[in-house]
Amino acid sequence: MQGFLDRFVAYLAKEANLKTQQQEIVRFGLECTASALVSTGVALGFGGILGQFSETLTALLIFALLRRFSGGAHCTAPGRCALFTAVILALVTGQARWLEEIGFSLHSLGIIVTVVIALAIHYRWAPADCPAHPIINPVRRQRLKSLSLAAIAVIASFLWLISFLGNGLYAGVGWVSLLWHSLGITPWGNKAVAGADRLLATVGVRR
């Protein structure tokens, strides 16, 4: 994919007469969009094969909303990200399905406990930035922390409503997603993702 992106940016630079700085911006925009589309497609496709497309989409939306404000751990290559995204979302939705199958009915309690854990973790560690995307401005850092806490409150309200309406499966998908995302922004979550990234590279997922 990188070779194609390089050629496409070179084409745009030539045709639209872009300066070096503009080329870097356009390349970054293109790389973000392409990797998001590929990873989302792989994750939803994998979810569809497992027969849990809508649950995977729900989990993906929750992760996406939270990661915009609170950041999180990263893989170092788009291919590994696509695989990791698919596996994590399958684990999250699989857990929610398992809870549904064993007749777990304490979703309100699950939501409350998860929201308390999520708020504490986000208050301590959000926003979790990385060397590729550092957050330099302390005012911006504080604003992102506040927005991530607000996002948790909004998600919690929706989950409580879904649980109240009696849809245990989606309430479960919601709070399990919130819990996994929250653990992912802790230093241990970052180490776990870095370990998974290295493991995928070792088994041959190079890009």
């Binding site: 745009l12 045709e15 639209a16 872009l18 700085q21 503009q22 870097e24 911006i25 356009v26 970054f28 925009g29 293109l30 790389e31 973000c32 969009t33 990797s35 998001a36 990873s39 989302t40 992760f63 996406a64 990661r67 915009r68 404000f69 609170s70 950041g71 999180g72 751990a73 990263h74 893989c75 170092t76 290559a77 788009p78 590994r80 990200c81 696509a82 990791f84 995204t85 994590i88 959000a126 926003p127 979790a128 930035d129 990385c130 590729a132 995307h133 550092p134 957050i135 330099i136 401005n137 911006r140 992102l144 991530s148 993702v193």
Partner: protein, 43 residues
């Protein structure tokens, strides 16, 4: 260059620049891969 091609390329560059700014303004990408943010967009 034909006019429609100029408009198309200009729109594409504008859209990609906007997407780059939006991604740089958030804490992270929505998936588990984070491309290197260009110096000029870091804040």
């Amino acid at each position: 260059m034909k006019k429609w091609k100029m408009v198309l390329l200009g729109s594409l560059v504008t859209l990609l620049s906007w997407l780059a700014s939006a991604n740089a303004a958030s804490a992270s990408t929505v998936i588990w891969y984070q491309p290197q943010v260009p110096e000029v967009l870091r804040k």
